[in-house]
Symmetry: C7
Amino acid sequence: MEENTTQRPLDALNHARGKKVIVELKNHKQLVGSLKAFDIHINTVLDDAEERVDGEVKRKLGTIFIRGDAIVLISAE
Amino acid sequence: MEENTTQRPLDALNHARGKKVIVELKNHKQLVGSLKAFDIHINTVLDDAEERVDGEVKRKLGTIFIRGDAIVLISAE
Amino acid sequence: MEENTTQRPLDALNHARGKKVIVELKNHKQLVGSLKAFDIHINTVLDDAEERVDGEVKRKLGTIFIRGDAIVLISAE
Amino acid sequence: MEENTTQRPLDALNHARGKKVIVELKNHKQLVGSLKAFDIHINTVLDDAEERVDGEVKRKLGTIFIRGDAIVLISAE
Amino acid sequence: MEENTTQRPLDALNHARGKKVIVELKNHKQLVGSLKAFDIHINTVLDDAEERVDGEVKRKLGTIFIRGDAIVLISAE
Amino acid sequence: MEENTTQRPLDALNHARGKKVIVELKNHKQLVGSLKAFDIHINTVLDDAEERVDGEVKRKLGTIFIRGDAIVLISAE
Amino acid sequence: MEENTTQRPLDALNHARGKKVIVELKNHKQLVGSLKAFDIHINTVLDDAEERVDGEVKRKLGTIFIRGDAIVLISAE
């Protein structure tokens, strides 16, 4: 349907590398930061991460490692 | 029973590629978007995604990556 | 004990292919539809699916893909 | 300690094949029926199944497929 | 530190075979019975099992199969 | 950074073998006992185990087998 | 985008070895300590660990082993 389509989910995630993303967790927290790294388990590292509640910064966290199974979704900010 | 039957679940999902789908999550959220990609874990990428609550758009999310184990079901819109 | 016994659970599920089934989910929802496909993870596709609450149709969903680990049981309607 | 001991759990389950069993689920429901089939994941098929609440039949379900990970225990009726 | 130490957890469980044990479940129930069999998933079979609540027998269950992932711990009675 | 560093988590756990440890469970219970054995799933056996609530001994349990996935953390007493 | 980028999440975690980290658990507890060891399951060992509630030290725990699947995220203090 499209030329040059991303076929696999991890490819799409790879396009977000180095960009600002929002990570939503199963515990309902939102983490915002620059997507540094991820693996096939979706273990994810964010740089300059912040925890947000209702759009407001609650805590600055620096570089964080998130265990993949705690994640619901990752979107571009 | 039917000719030309889709035999495997992921084949059915493949037919929805590029089409608008509703993804229901274990955390009770609904995400609507164009099905861009998925894998055997049902890790899923939607384009032009929106979060909906009671049929109303709550947030526009753009392209999102959803971790498969957070998903309950995927239906055509 | 019986002649011609189905020995494996997925064989029993296979006998329901093309028939109307009720799928009960861990989130307590009931989905009713024609069993189109399933795999060893019990990822399941229903055609003409409906969500029911207390026996009443709540939503018509068309063809749906259900992630296996969200399922508690599948019965014939 | 005993002669002719069943050594493995699935052997014990196999002895119940064709007999009436009670399956207790993680969602606190009780299902009663004739044990038709099971596999190493404890995916289980019951014939003539009923859902019981406090010892009373709530629903007759016929032949049902239960996903193994929804099960807590299986006992003889 | 000790001579003749049991090195592996399943060895310790094996020493309890044929003895009366208490199995505590994730759903907070306690099952008491004679440990008949277990496997590497901790799927467990008890003979002469009883369900206990606050130390009192609530139900007699006979021989039961318990799915391993429902279990928190197993102790000698 | 340190000489003679323990590099792997299970090595650290191995240093606690034969010593008194506190095991905290996902169900919020605390078990205290002598660490007898563990495996790669963190299935763990304690000798002379006690259940504690708010630092007080609630029950004496003797030798217990704990299923690894019920465990949050293990610390030295 | 950056030279000398850490590509894999466990590499980032490795950079924190020997440094003070905050580990947030699925049970909402926070553990602070020096990151001694971790493995591919994110089983993690902290030295000089403390449990904190709302930024205050609640308990001193010494060296602790944390089961990986109990962890949500790890950040630098």
